[in-house]
Symmetry: C2
Subunit: 329 residues, 2 copies
């Protein structure tokens, strides 16, 4: 690999001059600048980013904190963030918090030690002092406090939408799965669904869940049908839970969607390949990742911001776990 000395020799200038050009500091004559830039190009010279960042006090590193990349909702988010960041040559340092506040703080601290210039965090602890004390921009993703820059989907409307669609398709004894209580978007959807079911004057029961894990999802699905065998509609807390409910329903011989309808939440990639394919409320995870990255880049570059809280739309994706209705319901 070429060194700064090679560049200086080829351009016929001193190392200090090359440094001034690269770091955009101090006076350099236009002709000299041109010679240096040509030498840089010709030698494919790439200055050491760490050395530059110390001098310019700017790196191109971003910290990305997610609860768990192994939850199928998050890889899409992460891809969105990465694709947008990559377009402007930012790189991601990545960590999984496992929704553990201590682990999260530990990660944020090492992000700072590695001189990240911004953080995107999908956290349950947005009011933690570690965020307040940060001297670099933060965008909260998915799990959101409204006073800080954030990108999130409209969970409450998502819950309402799920209830509205399952009710107009004829479910009357509805089980609503309540996601983990400390995860705010899960509660938003739950409350939205319950609000709409109450408005319709229908009966419902609640199945509490405490995580989004695959193994536990299967247990909650079993519990649901053993405790509430009369259930004819399930609003699941996410697509993993919905997949587990579908699996259990078919195992015990329920006909889906004729006797039992199921609506998930997220629209993870596998949902369309289930049998029957899963009807769900789509959150645009990839686009949310891109938006969060775009907002953070603006904050870092101190560009004008139209909107610091970006709410993304949710939509009902009609597939095979809900019955057909004609357009006028």
């Amino acid at each position: 690999m070429a060194t700064i000395k090679d560049v200086a020799v080829l351009a016929g200038v001193s190392v200090a001059t090359v440094s001034r050009v690269i770091n955009e500091r101090g006076y350099v004559h236009a002709d000299t600048r041109k010679k240096v830039e040509e030498a840089v190009k010709q030698l494919n010279f790439s200055p050491n980013e760490v050395a530059r960042s110390l001098y310019k006090r700017k790196s191109k590193l971003i910290g990305l904190l997610l609860p768990d990349i192994a939850n199928p909702y998050f890889p899409q988010l992460a891809r969105g963030v990465e694709d947008r960041m990559q377009e402007q040559d930012f790189r991601l340092i990545f960590g999984n918090s496992d929704e553990d506040e201590e682990k999260e703080q530990d990660y944020i601290q090492t992000f700072i030690q590695n001189n990240v210039v911004g953080v995107i965090s999908s956290t349950n602890y947005p009011h933690s002092p570690i965020y307040e004390n940060l001297k670099i921009p933060v965008v909260f993703l998915d799990r959101t406090p409204l006073d800080s820059p954030s990108v999130y989907a409209d969970g409450r409307e998502g819950g309402r939408l799920a209830a509205r669609e399952i009710i107009r398709r004829g479910s009357q004894r509805i089980a609503v799965m309540q996601g983990p209580v400390h995860i705010r978007p899960a509660q938003d959807r739950f409350e939205g669904a319950v609000e709409m079911i109450r408005q319709a004057g229908l009966d419902y029961h609640v199945v509490q869940t405490t995580s989004f894990s695959f193994n536990e999802a299967a247990l909650w699905a079993e519990e649901l049908f053993s405790k509430h065998s009369e259930t004819d509609g399930v609003i699941a807390s996410n697509d993993i839970a919905a997949t587990a409910v579908l699996h259990e329903a078919l195992r015990i011989g329920r006909k889906v969607p004729e006797e039992l309808q199921i609506i998930g939440f997220d629209d993870i990639p596998l949902s369309s390949l289930l049998s029957p394919a899963l009807s769900t409320i789509r959150q645009p995870a990839y686009e949310m990742g891109r938006e969060a990255a775009g907002l953070l880049i603006k904050l870092i570059e101190q560009a004008p911001i139209d909107q610091k809280n970006i709410q993304m739309p949710v939509e009902f994706i009609e597939r095979g776990t809900t019955r057909k209705v004609n357009a006028n319901g």
Copy 2:
């Protein structure tokens, strides 16, 4: 946050002395060292990692390059890498190559510019000059050249195992899905499966696929049944393809596993929740990630290595898309 000056004041020594202690350079009297260490602890002082890395020429950053985190096989791998790295305070810079050689080289180069001390790469281009010229350790993950440190599953044995299990359960007209030709582990499994089917003297046909994408998987599944309607067993190139085949088979009214058996590859988390649940060849993705991280840490620390090529076992996971046999087959 405490500064190095605060530490010096509290310990009653000079900043230079604190620096010598922190960076483990030069002579410091044992008592002085103790005072500094106590002050560091009391103030919860964390030195700037970039400044340290410049001085000590060592960061705690690792580059992790994967083809695509949105393929459900890779989040498990990434978690394994991250969990192991986190135990020793290493942090990950993360990139998706999309199996594009240029994008991959670009990422490796920026990893280096950010002073990573090691790289884990799941690449199709292990013989690229960019790896040869690296002055830091590299561990190849999943997609492997045998002359370099690597962690991989035994794909060929996996293919043999899939064929053996589907044959002893009675399939006779087998479709073998051939994964993308440039992905070596996909070819290993394909060759293993074909070898075993030929040994058994059975008929088979090949369905070529060119990616592991969700959308295309559905198209190949349709093609499979329209071109080869007599198929009574499918060895899929991975679990996504297997899920698409199962979906299409049920859609056109095939009884699984009575008329048609399906075996996947990978054992992604959702496979156990399909209906029927997917029989598959398991690769221990999480454990492979952990092993790769452990091997890289040893290389970085120049610790003794027992084995620089770690082959992980594959196993048949029997679920609902294959028929039952008694133990003596």
